[in-house]
Amino acid sequence: MRRIKILEEKFFVYISAFMAYSLIAVLAFIILVVFVKGFNALNLDMILKTPRGGYYYGGEGGVLNAIMGSVYIAFGATIIAIFIGMPAALYINVQLVRYRRTQNTIRYFLDALWGIPSIVYCAFGFALILFFGMNASLLAGIITVALLISPIMVRTFDEVLSTIPKGLHEASLAMGSTRTETAFRVMFKQGFSGFITAVLLSFGRGIGDAASVLFTAGYTDNVPVNLDEPAATLPLAIFFQLGSPIPEVRERAFASAVILTVIILALSLGARYLSKRYSRTNLK
């Protein structure tokens, strides 16, 4: 009996360890492949120049247009999503604290929104553009991506807020704070690391999503300077270059993928640092 138990224990420990480490190995492998394939094409021109004539046939230039376009879109959309998501998540957890059923209904709908494929958001954004008589532009891209990432923002922040002990909530109210003060001065502070995670996840999704910007942001070889100009994005840059029959251009697709990955990794490290720093005072 004892021997079987020991064997069973070992078996499951090894299985779980294998699963955990193999996931990390897969991640490392993906990054490695992208780096190796894109390494030759990776140079300063890639990040500092926009495509020149003949770029898509292997000519000179870089993907600065796509980098800037992606950063503008993801940044703008994240700002909008913060203004939608932060109050919404606080509302669910503070104002609606009495109404568990309403809370869960809202969460259900947000989860559904989270699950909608981004191409559907693109179609919606496209319909919106046509309705308002706009062109594919930076602004349209920002709005579409903001719609796409808002549910992610709300649910991620909400998930952290909902784990805050009820005692802290009650303690704040018992001191005579209004619900708004409780939300912004206590709950937001206590859930700050969750807020950072929410912002990061949303930004990552926004900068990496190709389908939602396909028809809404358009594509251009210039860095957009106005909200009503079309904007290129990194995912689409990768998509177009990867479809090229010319090997040099396909290599540049991988180089663009490296740039996108590095942006996301840098963000994630920065966010970790920030959330550690600001959750120092939190109730454990």
Binding site: A171, S172, L173, A174, M175, G176, T281, N282, L283
Partner: protein, 272 residues
């Protein structure tokens, strides 16, 4: 000429007002009933809380003591399933059916819960938070009262060199005293304490008990406890509850020596 005329009261009125202030119970609960669905949590509770005394609420777990405290500071609002009827009078204001805003009612009492919940900010800001809520902006005044209230709970000497450290870096006992200081900064007249020592070590518990003995000169304290010895040490007035009803209330000497009811006797023997 636009100044309001000072109200002139006769000596008799002044005297009767001050007598009323010193003799009248701070808090009167009348016909308080609380239901959660079909469950009757508090059943026709009537009680008076005497001014500047420690009133101890005793009773087995689940008898409604915590619910009673939550009714008093209206935290029952957070639970939709609770239906509260009756009257709770502070001075002459019926807080269950009032137009006064709830935060200002809650500021009449400080709450000390079973485990401390310091706000996720520094030690200093925890105490200053209450003043901020009251609209005190003067930095000097805030500094002065933070020190005053930290001294009041005997924490000043221990934290004066690390006021800007996170409140969570304190020990649990210190955190509980910080929560008390934070509550006092709002200038309440009543302290609601819900088993405030149950998570603390014996020494910290002792400190809290001694604090209560000092604080009752200025505050009215309502203490829920499970520790009979603590009740005997601190109580000026005892209320024994069981199953949502008040079974006995009165002077501690009398109640502990000659309990009138079988329920109280049983509770005193096995403590639960």
């Amino acid at each position: 000429m636009f100044l309001p005329e000072p109200e002139i009261m006769s000596d008799k009125e002044v005297i009767s007002m001050s007598v009323e202030k010193s003799v009248l119970p701070v808090l009167r609960v009348r016909n308080l009933n609380v239901y959660a669905g079909n469950h009757h949590i508090l059943d026709d509770v009537n009680l008076d809380i005497p001014r500047n005394k420690i009133t101890v609420l005793l009773g087995p777990s689940g008898c409604g003591k915590t619910t009673l405290l939550k009714c008093i500071n209206k935290l029952t609002d957070l639970y939709k399933e609770l239906k509260v009827t009756g009257n709770i009078l502070i001075e002459h204001d019926d807080i269950l059916n009032t137009t006064t805003n709830i935060p200002s009612i809650r500021q009449k009492m400080g709450l000390l819960s079973q485990r401390p919940y310091p706000l996720p900010v520094s030690i200093y800001k925890n105490v200053a938070y209450g003043l901020k809520l009251k609209g005190v902006r003067d930095k000097k005044l805030v500094e002065f009262s933070v020190e005053k209230h930290l001294r009041e709970v005997g924490l000043w000497e221990e934290v004066k060199n690390r006021l800007h450290a996170p409140a969570t870096s304190l020990s649990i006992g210190q955190q509980q005293r910080l929560c008390l200081a934070r509550g006092l900064a709002v200038k309440p007249s009543i302290i609601l304490a819900d088993e405030p020592t149950s998570a603390l070590d014996p020494i910290s518990s002792k400190i809290i008990e001694n604090l209560f003995k000092d604080l009752k000169r200025h505050y009215t304290i309502i203490l829920v406890t499970h520790v009979l010895r603590q009740a005997m040490r601190l109580a000026d007035h005892v209320i024994f509850m069981n199953d949502g009803k008040i079974i006995e209330q009165g002077q501690p000497e009398e109640l502990f020596k000659n309990p009138k009811t079988e329920e109280m006797r049983a509770y005193l023997v096995d403590g639960n």
